[in-house]
Symmetry: C2
Amino acid sequence: MKNRRYALVRHTDKAPIMDCVEWRIEEAPSPGPGEVLTRTLLLSVDPANRGWMSSTPPSYMPGIGFGATVRSSSIDEVLASNHPDFKPGDLVEAMSGWQDYAVAPGHALRRIEPRGDLALELSLYGLSGLTAYVGLMDIGRPKPGETLFVSAAAGSVGTIVGQLAKAAGCRVVGSAGSDKKCRWLVDELGFDAAVNYKGEPLRKQLRAACPEGIDIYFDNTGGEALQAAVLLANERARIICCGVISRWTAENPDQGIKGIPGLIAMKSMLMQGFIVFDNLHRRKEAFGLLSRLVADNRLTVRSDIIDGLENAPQALAGLFAGENMGKRIIRVAEPGQRQVD
Amino acid sequence: MKNRRYALVRHTDKAPIMDCVEWRIEEAPSPGPGEVLTRTLLLSVDPANRGWMSSTPPSYMPGIGFGATVRSSSIDEVLASNHPDFKPGDLVEAMSGWQDYAVAPGHALRRIEPRGDLALELSLYGLSGLTAYVGLMDIGRPKPGETLFVSAAAGSVGTIVGQLAKAAGCRVVGSAGSDKKCRWLVDELGFDAAVNYKGEPLRKQLRAACPEGIDIYFDNTGGEALQAAVLLANERARIICCGVISRWTAENPDQGIKGIPGLIAMKSMLMQGFIVFDNLHRRKEAFGLLSRLVADNRLTVRSDIIDGLENAPQALAGLFAGENMGKRIIRVAEPGQRQVD
């Protein structure tokens, strides 16, 4: 059984993603004692993939060694198991990365019972949904009538944040990189307003879209959106530091944000980060709320599916180019062993 | 009765403080219905005085109009009262500013029962003590064994923060602007270490003084100290945004802090500001703890007293030059009408 995989061969710090990986075809691994052999079905495409491929990976996880498979969370099907909790045919959440077959100890896998479309297990009922829920509820603490702004609003986390905040009674404004995305946010997802950051200066657009200022800012980008939010923040505003996707594309990512710490002090503001992996025990609470909102037609998500493992580098690069609307996913195979190419 | 006062005549944005005020001698005001006439005894000298004199005063208080008396909190003696809660001879906390006599409505005054030295009512049992207590306890949430770093550690708030954190079981490191202040922090106040920010690069000194990283940073300065703290912060570190005194003296105060928001997100950090005036109802709780620590010889404060109202501008300018050790206070008069010159 041959395993196709992408190995990391160069750090992504400055190089295009395509130049950092090498396509290899090798023997598939065999499971040892307590281990499970799985086939990758779906791969999650996230900004974090690129950070893990850099020479300065985030502190909560080690970097990827050269020659190792590019890391990514995945939905897999169990093919063979030496672990009592799993049997062939089980669907599991895993970290198999950019390859067809992976071996993992049983404790690193989590069996899932899909609530519908399998892709939702990587978005709404996966890390994106948990990230949106924990960040918004714990740090944002939305109250009816407050104004929430979310950047990268058409992305996987942003779409969920915005709709969760609407359900909490907030006025919701999002930023995205095209007029098409902005229309989708307002017309389909129920955002109150959306601004195209590639148009007029973001701060000017936001000032118009948030006439009563900003109470909560869910930051997926850093950069210009964070700068605008800090300046437009109301007293006691909360800023959820979730992602810094702009650092990959900004002309001068290290220039810093003006008004920090001065405006934080003067406005009694709060800025806080969190790591979703510290909150895995809260899935039930989060997914319970999210599934109720889906049942009530108050929450819609969209998957942006790219077929074929070989397209993984382009799929990830496209995320940074803003190609996706909703959750970008690579479909590697379908359950029951049919490979997708 | 003649009232000596300093009127604001220019904003402090770029001008030296001395050039922004004018010494005037006028008739003392008379109290109207419900009002109280007081004589200023002690004036608190704080970085906020300068901010209130600028063209961009903090949002929690209006700026000072040209011709109006420079604002400052004070301890006064009541001379005449048209308000049932006050009688001549009462000591009150007020906002009389840089003048001998002031008239205020009764609700703007708070009668005090000094716990000893009257100057402590402007420091330990005044806004400095409340600021240190609320910021450290609510946002810092110190736990035994954690490392706390505080900037402007030899100042009024910093000395209290450091000793409160010691009492909470933390390892405490402070920064100050002279070797003399650093020795005082360690030898007299019980800090574990102190670094002179005018010596070796602050980040290098701090790295040595905080071998286990920084869990809590009480920021009185912004600038270089905040930058070093963000870089040396441990996961789940808390940064209390209290003051930005460095913005008055930094060569490039607007350059921003590197690692924000990236390190906030990656390290699950928290940065939060607060306004002490929102916490006035917590005086009893705060001063109860502080007075118990004083009684147990675990807390020492020092007043840095400048005699004479006419010296107010120099006293405030000297605060920014780092002249003071402990709480700087201007003594205008002593209780019982004896004026100090």
